[in-house]
Symmetry: C2
Subunit: 252 residues, 2 copies
DNA sequence: CGTCCCCTTGATTAATCTCAATTAGTGTGG
DNA sequence: CCACACTAATTGAGATTAATCAAGGGGACG
């Protein structure tokens, strides 16, 4: 079940944009909350929206949510855990496109062709909500807030991918990656100073277009310099300012 | 100030003057055709749609359509010519995000934050149609085809960026780039075997995360191997199959 | 308690970048 | 129309980053 394929890659936002105005209400059915619901949605609207949200049973580590060439009919919102999306090229090389935390959407790249063009697999036990795409578009016709929200979510993914496209050094990419995770955890109410990496070193490496050995070395270097502390999956950010500088970006 | 150094190398050069021959139904106002209009749009709908499309005067080489931090109110559809989008990081390094041909949209990454997060500049004399974003969303409420079309366009950009994310060799990226251009020219009714590069070597290099010298060398290598013929801006693809193999992708 | 896989660390190699120099267009002004 | 200046593109040589190759550690789990 756990596919064994090669890794080499990168994607999903090395950098997270500022969060949208958020909803105070949450979808009771799946816990979708301020991160992925329109800010302007009121209770009746939420009720309507909930009708198209379907809970699914949790997936285990390595289970696939969808694969390339699968028919596209649903988009997914991560409810808990973490997913990675990836593609495999003609030579069999894997490329990780992104890591997706709770509240983030999966399958947006399938809208264009109506077929999945990437694979999604759970990193550890994880769960999603399923939203039938037809229903989303239909409901969007009646709810301008939802339509706008969808546009914004798609746009955000474009921004994130653009940010990840940059040609930076191994240190810069690693620093940016850690800061991106930090900011996303923070937005979810978790600590932005200390968190667990759901993904393996080789997944990180692949995502960042590095070798796994390089990821190890960079992390070791950062630790030696006092920027972070790493112990297996657990990461603590000790000097965020220095990390920002290392990332070569203005602010985080 | 940034401007001058960024755009020191624009060359107008040789570019195809004729307009892209597009769809059966075309927006009379700006020539938008099937490349950027919903296929299912009928004449009355087209008429309505045309109301929100606004022609603008052509831009000259190096002129900016928008810049980072500009207010976002419009999206743009390239009518003729070519644009490049790019960002500049804290260290002043430029990163080209994409090249945009006739029929392709610009500014989609600005929807999320309501502010432009990239810069767009004309490569040679080029023109766009302006679509006020408010009007697009409003009209999308009444026209499901338009809404779906917008979703698809955003999704396509996500797919494109994902494809560009892969960690490939210089040869692979260059080959893929040429094939991508070829297929886009073909979709516009131009030759897919022979075309002019609107962008400089350094823009290509930057986009592909390579040094300009590397781009030169790879092109020279391809030419020596008989895959292509290059003369300044003019490129001829002599052996597409071999190029596909060089790109490491299944098909183009 | 032993195996397996993931991760780390070291040594070497290779791809690509950087630096440098040359050629070739492009445009300007006399 | 030509000389000059400037920029783009190419080519060569050496430097450098990160990959690859190789060898151990260290948990996790049965």
């Amino acid at each position: 079940m756990v596919d064994q394929q090669l890794h080499k890659g990168k994607t999903d936002g090395l950098r997270s944009p500022r969060l949208a105005p958020v909803s105070q209400v949450a979808c009771t059915k799946c816990g979708l909350g301020k991160l992925c619901l329109p800010a302007t949605m009121d209770s009746p609207q939420l009720k309507t929206f909930e009708k198209i949200v379907h809970k699914t049973r949790p997936l285990q580590n390595g289970d696939h949510l969808f694969r390339v060439a699968d028919d596209f009919s649903d988009i997914y919102a991560v409810r808990s855990g973490c997913f990675k999306t990836y593609v495999v090229d003609a030579a069999g090389r894997e490329q990780v496109l992104g890591f997706h935390l709770a509240g983030e959407l999966l399958g947006l790249d399938a809208i264009y062709q109506g077929v999945h063009v990437s694979n999604a697999t759970a990193l550890g036990t994880s769960s999603v909500c399923k939203l039938q795409y037809d229903e989303v578009t239909t409901l969007s016709q009646q709810m301008p807030e939802l339509q706008n929200h969808m546009f914004r979510l798609l746009s955000r993914r474009i921004s994130d991918l653009s940010a990840a496209a940059a040609d930076h050094s191994a240190d810069e990419r690693m620093a940016a990656f850690l800061l991106s995770l930090a900011s996303r955890f923070k937005a979810r109410g978790y600590s932005s100073k200390e968190f667990n990496l759901a993904m393996s070193r080789s997944d990180i490496a692949n995502y960042l277009r590095l070798a796994t050995e390089t990821v190890s070395r960079v992390l070791a270097r950062f630790q030696k310099k006092g920027l972070i502390k790493v112990d297996r999956k657990l990461v603590q950010l000790l000097d965020k300012d220095a990390l920002c500088k290392a990332a070569g970006t203005a602010t985080w």
